[in-house]
């Protein structure tokens, strides 16, 4: 794409990635990334969820080792093979999820791995005093002798920042640092970032909040599908351009979707409110995919958790097949034919070491063992039916679920709920971390569900997916639906703009 012109030598990069590549089992997380960070700049990185931002940070901090490519630090090639390598170069990160020890005090966390000692003994009082000075100096209203786990997550985030500032850092990465912060804490953080930057620290700032990037950064790079697509000078770009870079499509990504006529109304939600979301109304018909798009923390998952009976609603009504229902508990939802297909199917959806047939029958063992003994005939028939209907590719119903491909595992999760008689399927990020072939398989599962008269709610942070698959798309932002669109009636850029809420 549009690589920036060769830079004059005065812009010597402090850290440079050349053709850096990272593969995990089944996924290609970073693809030949070239990226140069200039000494003393604030460099923002944007991209949709799954674009490779987290992997990039992990490589820069030595938590993961790249599969290929070279990394130059001040012009010299470095290994960067362990966290210690990164720390000793002066590279540090403040992670989105706080990676600290919740049992230790704030001061102990700030000095972890770099304790002040006197003749082998910890100088705890001195460390607390020093940490307190640092916190006060930064304007953080925190006690250095408080136990970290007693603090709110936003405050722990500030501790993580102070910790990085305390250890002579030269290159500091922030991964969505403001996700959990209040307005005031965000301002404090920004002041700290500017101050560190003024002292010559190079800052990498990762965020999906556009206004923060325009407030803070000098340059911004866009990642999409593991590739770097562009680097812009912030003063010479705008939100529209960045969003276009983030969602731009290539041809092979067009998603498979069959036209299926919609049937009668399966689910009708009116004015539902609960913890983390408010006033959500939507309808799902048989044969329809309703997409919920939004950034992490926008309230989609909170809404679904409530719909599934995991949290209590505070207002609103839910009608299932035309009848008002109250779902107190997950088992109510399951009994009424709602199935939740979790994001992490390996951890939450399957008993991986058990057989395909066992997994397919897991929700119905109560029904097929009326005497207490399992009716093995019914077990076999149930499994055989789902294996045939969903075209699950397995040597036999006895092989462990772990041995199947990602797509076939997803089919087992769907199959066990079909076996149970579910009609409304909620998919939470069904294609996270799966390769293109598996994605197509999963979309085929959608099609067969819809043909059988089921309705689907699809939660995805991956815009192209919800965009292509949804018959109706609701955009979540800050806890509620901010916009609704019929299939492909709005431009993806509009949708992303709505979700970001600029």
């Amino acid at each position: 794409m549009d690589n920036p012109a060769p830079r004059p030598p005065t812009d010597a990069p402090i850290l440079e990635l050349r053709q850096v590549d990272k593969r995990f089992l089944g996924t290609h997380a970073l693809k030949q990334v070239d990226l140069a960070f200039r000494q003393g700049e604030i460099h923002a990185i944007v991209g949709e969820n799954g674009a490779g931002k987290s992997t990039l940070i992990k490589i820069l901090t030595g938590a993961h080792v790249r599969s290929a490519g070279t990394i130059l630090w001040q012009g010299r090639e470095v290994a960067l093979a362990s966290p210690l390598d990164a720390i000793s170069l002066g590279i540090n990160a403040v992670h989105q999820e706080v990676v600290l020890c919740s049992h230790l005090t704030v001061a102990a966390n700030i000095f972890l791995g770099d304790e002040r000692t006197n003749a082998g003994l910890l100088r705890d009082r001195a460390m607390v005093a020093e940490a307190q000075r640092l916190l006060d100096d930064l304007g953080f209203d925190l006690r250095a002798d408080a136990v970290l786990g007693d603090l709110a997550i936003g405050q722990q985030q500030l501790v993580a920042t102070a910790r990085a500032a305390a250890r002579g850092v030269k290159f500091l990465i922030f991964d969505e640092p403001t996700a959990y912060l209040t307005r005031q804490d965000t301002d404090k953080l920004f002041r700290l970032i500017r101050r560190l930057n003024g002292e010559g620290v190079t800052i990498v700032y990762i965020s999906h909040r556009m206004e923060e990037i325009f407030q803070l950064a000098d340059r911004v790079s866009v990642l999409r599908d593991g590739q770097k697509v562009a680097t812009h000078v912030v003063a010479e770009t705008n939100e529209r351009e960045l969003i276009r870079d983030m969602v731009a499509r290539t041809i092979e990504e067009v998603h498979y979707k069959e036209a299926i006529p919609a049937g009668d109304v399966l689910l009708e939600v009116t004015g539902l409110s609960g913890p983390g979301f408010r006033d959500v109304s939507l309808t799902v018909r048989r044969g329809e995919v309703v997409g919920l798009y939004g950034l992490v923390g926008a309230g989609r998952s909170e809404f679904v958790q409530c719909l599934f009976g995991r949290t209590k609603r505070s207002a609103g009504q839910v009608k299932l097949r035309g009848e008002p229902v109250t779902i107190h508990h997950e088992s109510d939802a399951i009994a009424r034919g709602i199935a939740l297909v979790p994001e992490s199917r390996r951890d939450q959806g399957l008993c991986l070491n058990m057989g395909v047939g066992f997994n397919l029958n897991l929700p119905v063992f109560g029904r097929i063992s009326p005497t207490g003994l399992v009716d093995t005939g019914a077990e076999r028939r149930g499994a055989a039916k789902q294996i045939a209907d969903l075209r699950i590719v397995a040597a036999s119903a006895g092989v462990p679920a772990a041995t199947l491909s990602g797509g076939n595992q997803q089919k087992i999760v769907v199959g066990k709920w079909l076996n149970h008689g579910a009609e409304l399927f909620i998919f939470d990020e069904p294609t996270v971390g799966v390769d293109v072939g598996t994605k197509v398989e999963i979309y085929k599962v959608f099609a067969s569900l819809l043909k059988a008269g089921a309705g689907i709610i699809l939660i995805s942070s991956y815009l192209p997916e919800v965009y292509d698959l949804s018959d109706r798309l609701h955009v979540f932002s800050r806890g509620t639906i901010v916009a609704s669109h019929d299939a492909k009636s709005a431009h993806p850029e509009t949708i992303l703009t709505e979700a970001i809420g600029v």
């Binding site: 901090t61 966290p83 720390i87 990676v99 020890c101 919740s102 408080a146 136990v147 939470d428 990020e429």
Partner: protein, 329 residues
């Protein structure tokens, strides 16, 4: 779910130091419980509040105390050491064989303690390098070491230990039984190691969040080695003391003591989930169990009750630990 944890988070300012207080309160409660038990036993039996019995209590207590402190080091890293009882048995046999073979006392002790440290390193090797779960690795060494002791002694009792060695455990210095002096000589450096040195800090860090420790440049592996070596080393100290106390070497000595040490540690407030524990806690826990034991004997209570009382104590204390965890998470 992908983003359930991002619901609005309240931001309390300047929070109270809840976590510190719990451990302190627990220790205070244990101490109060001990005093109540002692008073009750003094009133209800004529023999409890005698000098001889108190001395006996301290001697009994010293074995379990030392093991419980070592066990605590391991549990703080969220591990478990089931092999300590077997280490006691094996090392008490080894030192008896060395002494009976004419090796000088000081040399026998040094060799035995070295073997103890080595056994801890073997546990750590399995856990760190072979990535075995601590429960499995130490269960395996427990079984193997016990049999090894029987193998080298052919199941026989080793006698003929020098009198000077045997008398050590029954003598006292400045009016305090020697065995209890050893407890103090061990507890003090252990206190400094655990609470005042960076290595102790790393034990807590590894038990709390090994990934955070790793990303801070802490060597998680070395820290785990430290924990298991300390535990086995202290168990071998107990092996030496027990050989002196009973005056012979028997390979089956210390059977079930691993559970006593875990119970003492847990009763003393060590969390089996890691990152919570002190040196004083297991000392109090061991003293409580010893007192229950001793009191039950004096009161002619059916000895089978002792296990039931210990079990109930563990359930109550771990339940409170669970409650605390649920609140802080």
């Amino acid at each position: 779910m992908s983003d359930i944890s991002t619901a609005a988070i309240p931001a309390p300012k300047r929070p109270a130091l809840k976590s510190h207080r719990f451990g302190f309160l627990l220790n205070l409660t244990l101490l109060a419980l001990l005093v109540v038990l002692w008073l009750a036993l003094s009133v209800s039996t004529r023999s409890f509040a005698t000098f001889g019995n108190f001395e006996n209590l301290l001697r009994q207590d010293s074995m379990w105390s030392i093991m419980a402190v070592g066990q605590t080091f391991v549990i703080i890293t969220a591990g478990i050491d089931l092999s300590v009882g077997a280490v006691v048995g094996l090392t008490s046999t080894v030192i008896a064989m060395l002494l009976a073979g004419g090796v000088p006392i000081w040399a026998s002790i040094v060799i035995t303690l070295l073997i103890g440290g080595l056994l801890g390193a073997i546990n750590a090797f399995g856990i760190v390098n072979l990535r075995l779960p601590p429960f499995i690795m130490t269960l395996a060494t427990m079984t193997a070491l016990r049999s090894f002791g029987l193998l080298i002694t052919d199941g026989q009792t080793i006698g003929g230990l020098p009198l000077k060695f045997i008398l050590f455990s029954s003598h006292r210095t400045l009016g305090i039984p020697n065995l209890f002096i050893i407890v103090i000589l061990i507890a003090v450096p252990c206190y400094f190691l655990l609470h005042r040195s960076r290595w102790g800090r790393y034990l807590f860090a590894v038990g709390s969040n090994p990934e955070a420790a790793r990303l801070s440049g802490v060597s998680v592996n070395r820290t785990i080695y430290l924990a298991y070596i300390v535990s086995a080393l202290l168990a071998s100290v107990v092996g030496v003391l027990v050989a002196s106390r009973i005056g012979i070497g028997i390979a089956t000595t210390g059977q079930g003591w691993e559970l006593q040490s875990i119970a003492s540690s847990v009763i003393g407030g060590t969390s089996l989930f890691g990152a919570v524990g002190t040196v004083i806690g297991p000392l109090l826990g061991a003293m409580l169990l010893t007192t229950i034991n001793n009191g039950a004997n004096l009161m002619n209570v059916n000895p089978f009750w002792q296990g039931i009382i210990t079990g109930l104590l563990i359930i109550v204390i771990v339940y409170f630990d669970q409650l605390r965890r649920r609140k802080t998470r």
